[in-house]
């Protein structure tokens, strides 16, 4: 039984990791909101907002940014591989043309 093609992509683990960071950020925002909403004590709300909301926002931004960078790197690697393949094909075509002329 062979693995699906997308699981063999070298970018998949890293994209999963960054998606996890983004998800953790959303969870932190949710927890911060939950804690802050359950009390009227400002002294308890401030730590919840700092640790939850701001921390969660940082995680979401960081995870999304890294995922974007990784996607760009993957696209560039794919483009580079396809270019090399095209060059290989062109080289082979030139070699075949030379062999036919001689």
């Amino acid at each position: 039984m062979s693995r699906p093609a997308w699981t063999r992509d070298p970018a998949t683990p890293s994209l999963a990791l960054f998606a996890g960071v983004v998800l953790t950020g959303f969870v932190a925002i949710g927890l911060g909101w939950r804690v802050a909403a359950r009390t009227l004590l400002v002294a308890a709300q401030v730590p919840a907002l700092v640790s939850g909301a701001l921390g969660g926002l940082v995680l979401v931004t960081l995870g999304a940014g890294l995922a974007s960078v990784q996607s760009s790197r993957r696209l560039a690697a794919t483009e580079r591989a396809e270019t090399e393949l095209l060059l290989d094909e062109a080289h082979a075509l030139v070699q075949a043309f030379k062999a036919r002329q001689s």
């Binding site: 093609a5 992509d9 990791l17 730590p47 700092v50 640790s51 794919t78 591989a81």
Partner: protein
């Protein structure tokens, strides 16, 4: 070059991991409370008489008012003790005790530290007598505190099983200071704090009286009122209020804590009193109520979410993974 890159990476990883050791915001706040009610009581002077203690129900008709017997200026509170007479004709006894009712119900959270500071009025004309030699203890009050000055009525019950020692401090200005750590468990559920002579420390040679001011004192000798300093930490922000808002806090007080004597002067409003002739009659028998036991309270200290200590491990795992992911060759292995 490769070594330098590795060193930079290691420094970044270590720095990121160190972020996990930064303490998570933990809000401690200090709350200062002044007494909402205050009172001081003195022993009933009729008790040493052969007829025994004279109380309100021992007279033919109830006294219309709570007779104010304070010989001191209005707005002063007193805690005093006098030792035994030199000829041994009398034993040492408490001459005054004070009650301070603080609005602790307004405090939301757990109290991790508490201290009581009582600025002293050292004017002898106000009743002050060698306060530096005082031996005072602070106890929790389990009964309702009613404002009065120098009342001879039965004072509210106190629970001194746990008590704090009150010390005299001379500088910068004379005041009493008490670390209320022994009383933390019941501080937020009590009706107030009583200051009374420490029976375990007083000696027959003691003769002292500490005087301080109520918040409402207005004369020239007024001192700052007593201050209860609380260090409050929101014990658990997800916890519900311990006492429902619509339930009076008095329900926690056992009914035996407030002696109810028919016709007792303790139940009569404190107003200016006329002179009342009290006939001497047989002293009534008043059964002393048992001391109320304060409900123990668990105080949570430390981090509200100890799981934050795992953050360094998470950083140690995630950061190297991210660095590795961002430096790995992503060329597809099965390019069409």
């Amino acid at each position: 070059m490769k070594l330098a890159a590795r060193l930079v990476t290691a420094a970044l990883v270590a720095g990121s991991a160190a972020i996990g050791f930064v303490p998570v915001a933990h809000a401690d706040s200090t709350t200062n409370l002044t007494p909402a009610t205050s009172a001081w009581y003195q022993p009933n002077p009729t008790c040493p008489l052969p007829t025994g203690c004279l109380t309100g129900d021992s007279v033919p008709a109830p006294l219309p008012v709570d007779v104010p017997l304070s010989p001191y200026p209005a707005g002063t509170l007193h805690v005093g003790y006098t030792g035994a007479a030199a000829n041994g004709s009398s034993q040492g006894q408490e001459t005054a005790r004070a009650y301070l009712g603080f609005p602790v119900s307004s405090v939301d959270g757990s109290v991790t530290a508490a201290a009581l500071d009582v600025p002293l009025d050292t004017t002898q004309a106000d009743g002050s007598l060698a306060p530096e030699t005082s031996h005072i203890q602070a106890c929790l009050v389990s009964a309702t505190i009613t404002s009065t000055e120098g009342s001879i009525s039965t004072p509210p019950m106190v629970s001194c099983d746990a008590h704090a020692v009150v010390k005299y401090v001379a500088t910068p200005s004379p005041h009493l200071h008490a670390d209320l750590a022994p009383l933390l468990a019941g501080l937020l559920t009590t009706n107030g704090i009583a200051l009374l002579p420490d029976a375990s420390s007083v000696t027959s040679a003691d003769a002292w009286q500490a005087v301080f001011s109520t918040p409402g004192r207005t004369d020239a000798a007024k001192t700052d009122p007593p201050v209860l300093k609380l260090t409050v930490v929101p014990s658990d922000v997800v916890s519900e209020p311990e006492v429902p808002v619509d339930v009076p806090t008095d329900v926690a007080v056992p009914p035996v804590s407030q002696p109810v004597v028919p016709g007792s002067v303790a139940n009569i409003p404190d107003v200016t009193a006329p002179t009342v002739d009290v006939p001497a009659v047989q002293a009534p028998t008043v059964q002393q109520p048992q001391a109320a036991v304060t409900e123990p309270k668990t105080i949570t200290v430390g981090y509200a979410y100890p799981i934050v200590w795992l953050l360094p491990l998470v950083f140690l795992i995630v950061v190297p993974l991210a660095v590795r992911a961002l430096t790995t060759d992503l060329t597809p292995t099965d390019t069409p």
